[in-house]
Symmetry: D2
Subunit: 239 residues, 4 copies
């Protein structure tokens, strides 16, 4: 059984949680990595109730040693890895603490570098021809007022992902970047916006399971027909 690793897992009904569930359904042992063991356990438990395999790993994605230990813990057989870290970090530049701007990059991009480096090393060592996917956003492609920190870290991650894609294509490693353009119909927004149910009803929030299908679609591509990037949005999104 092949192994998969998803980092940046929060609530079960979020992109990270549902990615784990979907990947496990596709016959992987899934390593469910994130900061909060309680959340991870809920995801792992749910996957096991499906009759599938999962293990939680508590990790700070911006800590090299923790990333290295995580990879060691997983052992051989890793074939699919997803970097799903990096929440929106709104705010105006003149009001923003440098530590806030830095933190946005640390989790949004630097952790992606640490993760990618160790994942690629395993793929190369085991000659795996594995798949490494990154979660992007419309912010990956441009800057916008009030979102300088998020735009910057997402732009950093995208260019990094594209460089890695080109750098390890010769090793049959597939690297992809999914542009999630809009809010997700998951627990994060549910607890943050008062009109969540209305937005879902109006089709204004992205269906998470469909997004996980896109990740599986990318994973399943063979190396004679790889996609680096695709965008996902609802029919109601103004773009």
């Amino acid at each position: 059984m092949k192994k998969a690793l998803v980092i940046g897992v929060g609530p079960l009904n979020g992109l990270g949680g549902q990615l784990c569930k979907k990947i496990a359904q596709n016959n992987f042992e899934v390593f469910v990595a994130g900061r909060t063991i309680k959340s991870l356990n809920i995801v792992v438990e749910n996957i096991r109730q499906d009759g599938n395999k999962a293990k939680p790993i508590v990790v700070d994605t911006t800590d090299e040693n923790q990333i290295k230990n995580m990879i060691k813990e997983i052992g051989s057989g890793l074939d699919f890895a997803v970097y799903n870290v990096g929440n929106n970090t709104p705010g105006k530049i003149i009001d923003m603490e440098p530590s806030y701007f830095r933190q946005s990059w640390e989790s949004g991009c630097f952790g992606g570098f640490l993760f990618a480096k160790e994942v690629i090393k395993v793929f190369l060592k085991e000659n795996t021809a594995g798949t490494l996917l990154f979660t992007g956003a419309s912010a990956s492609l441009r800057g916008k007022s009030n979102f300088g920190a998020f735009n910057s870290s997402k732009g950093a991650l995208r260019n990094l992902a594209q460089a890695i894609a080109k750098e390890y294509a010769e090793n049959s490693i597939h690297v992809g970047h999914v542009i999630v353009d809009g809010g997700l119909a998951g627990d994060r927004l549910k607890h943050r916006v008062s009109d969540f149910d209305e937005r879902v009803k109006d089709g204004k929030l992205i269906d998470i399971e469909s997004v996980t299908d896109a990740y599986m679609f990318l994973y399943n591509q063979n190396k004679n027909a790889w996609t680096f990037e695709l965008d996902i949005r609802t029919s109601k999104e103004n773009w």
Copy 2:
């Protein structure tokens, strides 16, 4: 049984031909449209041997009346349409006949407009929430020496496709654009390049069936998670 229409079908072992075959396998009656009845018949015959349904339609994609007649002939039930017309048209600007430049646009973009207009009208009339996909290329995104005509017509088609995507999203019509970045391992190149077999062996040509999977993936997306654009290339492509 839903109906699908693919325009720009040449040899069986080409993107158009294989799209028809793949779509038919997904339980559509497929209308196989192109310029040469002989080629269309081979595709149709092959699909029928699979036990699936197909009909040929000879059509000049740059002729409004022929497009309208084709749509009439198909009748109700159209749910999936692909504009796959437009070959590469190399040449330097100073050496290029205006008629050649024009023809590149006529088939590469104008036909796409005529096609999209009639397809969208049917989708709207029948309230179908259908899918309309366009075949693009790396040429869609930038200009390059010796490819001014092709770059121009592909850029024209891409902006058109994006405008249509935004214009009819509110009608639940999904419009997508597939960036095929590189040569296809099909009959067109087979008859044009002497080192075809070597290129296939070296993994330098795009696997056509995988491309058709991408079209089906786009078709199957629900309107809470639509992709407008994805790129496809081999691991050997220099991009």
Copy 3:
């Protein structure tokens, strides 16, 4: 005295007219080309009142022979050429006559091809190291609802311009593309929008003379530091 040619000249207080005036002030004999002799004469007369040199040429930019005759009429010494043709062509795809869509491309892109071809041929024959600039728009870069025709023709022109830029760089010919993002504070809008004066007062319309400065800036670049593209918008533009 070097010669310059601006095609797509309408009212004196428009981008074409002011480009002619500005270029003439920079010590060129300017050929003022457009469809309406009356408009051209007003521009030419104004330039002559400045003490500078200008000649009108009535031309249909989509007619190869007229383009060729224009180039012949200008004779030797052409060093600067601007393609400034192509008005906005709004409208929904399903309501649009094919002839309207076609006309948008004919003037927006095909004329640009005819023009570029003849201009480049003169530059090459005279070994001029000339400059060829195109007027673009935000529409050059993406599609938008209700602007499919304009987006498409502008996207076609941009990819063409980029291909030409790369194709003739080795001949020291500088090709540029100016993205005019927003309405111009000129006579076209003045006669079309009722709140023109208010928009000017609010700084919402682009200052035309500043745009002409950008064209001169591009012209004056030497071949060790060429710009292909720059964007121009007001501080009030929402982008």
Copy 4:
């Protein structure tokens, strides 16, 4: 006399040094900021020999307090600021120390945030309608094998710059981003590549003075016709 500040100044015959010289010639008192007092003094001395005004400031661009002190030292009257920090940082991801990747971002992007924040605050406080420009590269727009760190930090800076441009346009602050696409004919490369003279002779290196003209061009634009971005390359560049 207005004040200008250029940060990221190295050798006199480099982009930073020549920017200071050119800006000083345009009637500014120029603050010449960088890490090495010896280099700064050479630039300052040269500007003074021109009969113009300049002062050196030693500063680590990644240190908030030093940036704040620098801004204090300059006092009132700042109208033009340039962030010119961030050298190329080549290397493959799997061989790269995390500290190296981080450092690339610290100087390439984080310093730009600290700088922009303090500069914008001064512009707002003094109601200056100032100009803030960033030096970009082709790396700003995409990822490329062996340049993951540099691509990532430049992409981060570009999205940040675009966000700032939109965020403070309403305050009449002009923000721009110059894409320098290729090597510069300056002292950095002179000391690093053995065929420098040949490359200069062949026109393969960008003329620095022309680049400084572009920065002045951007500075001089009025708010009814601002450019956010322009690219600069030689006629020999393959793009």
